[in-house]
Amino acid sequence: MGKVGIIGVGQSAFVRGYPGSIRELVFEGFKEAMKDAGISVKDIDASIVCSAPEYDKQRSPAGVFAEYLGLTPQPTFYIESLCSSSSTGLKTAYALVKSGLHDVVAVLGFQKMSEISSAESQERMGRGADIQWESPFGTMMPAYYAMYARAHMEKYGTTPEDLALIRVKAATYGQINEKAVYRKPVLLEQFSDPESPMSGPVASPLRVGDCCANADGSSCVIVANEEKARAFGRKPVWILGIGAASTTVNLAGRDLFTGLTVAHRAGKEAFKMAGVGPKDIDVAEVHDCFTIAEMMAYENLGFAEPGEGKELIRGKETYRDGSIPINVDGGLLSKGHPIGATGGSQIRTIVLQLRGEAGDMQVKDPEIGLVHNIGGVGLYGNVTILGR
């Protein structure tokens, strides 16, 4: 069996209040990926649609998109793992291609979040946790991650300022990413300025500035077998390693609150499959739904020892010109987090980086990149390693 390559990537701009329906939103990411790959709809053998269904009025959106994108009569289906849906879609596409069942598969991620209020959105996302035993207490994603932040601070002396520095970095790159929803700079001082929205309390110790922005968006990743990938002529980026894991939904079933076990396990698997280690990674995208999530990712993926993640951000090592550039597209914090589209957008960023097409965000000559995409409160974890 040959390698599996990514031959096209695309995403819509991530925005508040997309002025169109979900099929039109999905078309934007698809169009960019198809033009990137230089292929036509006849070349796609199957499509996989990824989102978090609690936002969708449309039941079974795969069929609607297949029709709108001209991907009928080829097979299409829907897949979900909350915020990691589209990297789960990529893993599934890899399996379909690697098995020889299909030659070319399109992974379509999307979410249209802005039709409901933020408080409604918190309630729906909160239902990605244990609705029987946790949600009745009034839980929401920021509060769960805040519990991890509290434990991390207690054990390792991580400070709210360390977390704020991660937001400052995200905003540095959000400003230069034309696809990002949040294009403004963020200064550390804003976190201690009661007049700044960044300092607003959400769930202690996390503040508004520690939380990613909801957005509407779509992404598309087109995967092909080695023969087709080479034949289409675009320089393919190869999938070198894939790892995935799960843990208990209810926090009561977990033992670790200073890191995500799914990220550690998925990372280990992906590194083993790719035959590389954390030191070989030249550029990474990690799931920074909250600042603490990026801090834990540094440690769970082996870029820093447990408790040492703060040194990476204090030393600006995760900036574009640092030793391990991370989220130099603005991350979820500034680029925005349209749930089902996020994993595909992260993959797109790394593919562009490895091709040397990332513009102002370009890291110097990267050969191997990593994508860490998490679903729920560290419930599902996918780590994907890509190489030229």
Binding site: I131, Q132, E134, S135, P136, F137, G138, A203, L251
Partner: protein, 144 residues
């Protein structure tokens, strides 16, 4: 005509807003009414489950007995919310937390009577059945 089957929806009384009405562990609610917070224990293998469950995945059996969550647990971590999901705004501010009892952990809320500056990770707390002002039921963590 067949008589309409009565549904046992006791669990809909759990918490500020319940998202589950029917479960095989509905008796949890009756115990809460009586002031007890209960876990389940598999009578085949002895494993204790909190939250309580009806089925043991190890034994592939459903032989459970109720056991009280007693004594004290250590506060693992917590967060105080200043912003709430829809339906919980009137409860603000409130803190969610996790206690470690050794053989199980309990996820819940810290009692509103505990001042935030007295909350310390590692402190001993107990889980207490609680009736909300509107008559609904949950449990809260109090200082031991």
């Amino acid at each position: 005509m067949a008589k309409k089957r009565e549904m046992d929806t006791r669990f809909s009384k759990f918490g500020t807003v319940s998202f589950t009405a029917i479960t095989k562990v509905n008796d949890f609610i009756d115990y809460l009414e009586e002031g007890s917070v209960m876990a389940t224990r598999c009578t085949d293998c002895g494993m204790i489950f909190f939250p309580p469950r009806a089925d043991c995945y190890r034994c592939l059996a459903s032989n459970m007995e109720w056991v009280a969550v007693t004594g004290t647990g250590k506060l693992v971590t917590y967060s105080k919310l200043q912003y709430a999901p829809i339906g919980f705004g009137d409860d603000l501010p409130y803190a969610i937390a996790l206690l470690d009892y050794g053989d199980c952990k309990v996820f819940g809320r810290i009692a509103a009577s505990v001042p935030e500056d007295e909350i310390k990770i590692g402190m001993d707390m107990k889980t207490v059945a609680n009736r909300l002002p509107d008559g609904r039921l949950n449990y809260v963590f109090e200082k031991a």
